[in-house]
Point group: C2
Chain length 257, copies 2
């Protein structure tokens, strides 16, 4: 690894890449879209860390350096992967708003869809998104997801905050779930097997200190979920709580009006 990626050295180039169509092939049939597609497939099964330019090139039966004709570097490639992964999130502009249950149903729908994407493409968690989130698909996504919150009496900033809260929660729990799966796969041990393995050593080492509440609660949680965490439950519980909280805000706003 030579130089640290200093964001995108040329923002305009990145934008053109993001918003371009990328369908004209070179003389060996190489396309930006093909590169991005191959990279996504590889990352889906191996993770971003394990994804290398050599692997992408091999899969496309092309020399490694040929990729650099179409894509400035790995950083920009992940940016493109990111935007493409969010390509098919919503069928049309009003799909969330059309869900039953008003804004609440819409936000639930949005949360589930985001969860699905993050589960299908766990490498998304590793993409630095701060200054990239301006591809066409991301922008469209933001617009669509804000719509169900429009006209409820919230200010623009509150609309953004509410959406951000929901999405942050989904991301956090999905990330935990992805990490759990990855760890299980890497180690070849289920959470239960792993726990059985370290349990004796743990009790030995922990003798002396004791943690009354943590012990009791930890045991209950373990018995209930057969694991330290249950991402699906965390998603549901958190989403419900957050929506309850948002409901209070929205009601207070419509009472004022």
């Amino acid at each position: 690894m030579a130089g640290r990626k200093a964001a995108a050295p040329d923002p305009a180039r990145s934008l053109a890449l993001l918003w371009g169509s990328h369908t004209k092939p070179g003389r060996s049939g190489l396309t930006v879209r093909a590169i991005v597609g191959a990279a996504i497939e590889l990352a889906d099964s191996a993770g971003l860390e394990a994804l290398s330019m050599r692997m992408v090139a091999d899969r496309l039966k092309v020399g490694t350096m040929s990729l650099y004709t179409h894509v400035p570097g790995k950083g920009e490639l992940t940016d493109l992967m990111f935007d493409q992964a969010y390509g098919d999130l919503y069928a049309d502009e009003d799909e969330p708003a059309r869900q039953p249950g008003g804004w609440r149903g819409a936000l639930e729908f949005i949360a589930r869809r985001n969860w699905d994407v993050l589960t299908a493409h766990p490498w998304i968690h590793e993409v630095p998104t701060m200054r990239t989130a301006l591809g066409p698909n991301i922008t469209r996504k933001y617009d669509i997801e804000l719509r169900p919150l429009d006209g409820l009496g919230l200010t623009d900033v509150e609309m953004d905050s509410a959406l951000t809260l929901v999405l942050t929660h989904v991301q956090g729990t999905a990330r935990a779930g992805a990490e759990q799966l990855r760890t299980q796969r890497d180690s070849g041990l289920s959470d239960e097997e792993w726990w059985r393995q370290i349990s004796p050593a743990l009790t030995t080492v922990m003798s002396g200190s004791h943690f009354p509440v943590a012990g009791r609660v930890g045991t209950s949680v373990g018995e209930h979920f057969q694991s330290v965490i249950d991402p699906a439950h965390a998603l549901t519980f958190g989403l419900g709580t957050i929506l309850d909280g948002l409901a209070q805000l929205i009601e207070s706003r419509s009472a004022v009006q």
Copy 2:
């Protein structure tokens, strides 16, 4: 990089490392604690990715491979760093529970403290925590943070879910903040400067498509925060909303009893 880290190859060894005192120096004064301390200092300023065994060894004026006498590898080292970073979180067992404002005040206190740690040590976000969260400091932390939720009528699983929800939110927003800072530092551009730079190219490229709600809200947010995101605001807004939601749950439970 040779072999992918398959979790800790020897869990018992890791546990002994985690729970041991690590204060007996070798013949050149090398200690596990010293290694972990040096690694944390380096990671604080450069990030986990940039942290290398060679750098740690250099800082301690020791050959690179000497570190491997005390620590099995980089993975285990980050595990130790993780636990140590949470060492001084709470002065004593009841500090959160002692805060004014009941369980709500306690959870706010817990959130702020976690936020502080994550802000001081942004590399924590990159540590895989799933099967490591069993060091002495982490265990103590879990115990202390559960206490304010005990005796409110919640089930054990609900106590855990509530705490997890708050901590996931803090982590998510802190992560976004860390990424923002890092990007600004790496690129040398403030969000505002960066925006001014790409703005023309963006409007060019976006002409044709238009996003009514996203455009309006995005502009409002940008004007309000001088940035795409404001992590501090996201923390406060989200925490307030979440606690409002939890209040409903807790009230419903105490009504039943």
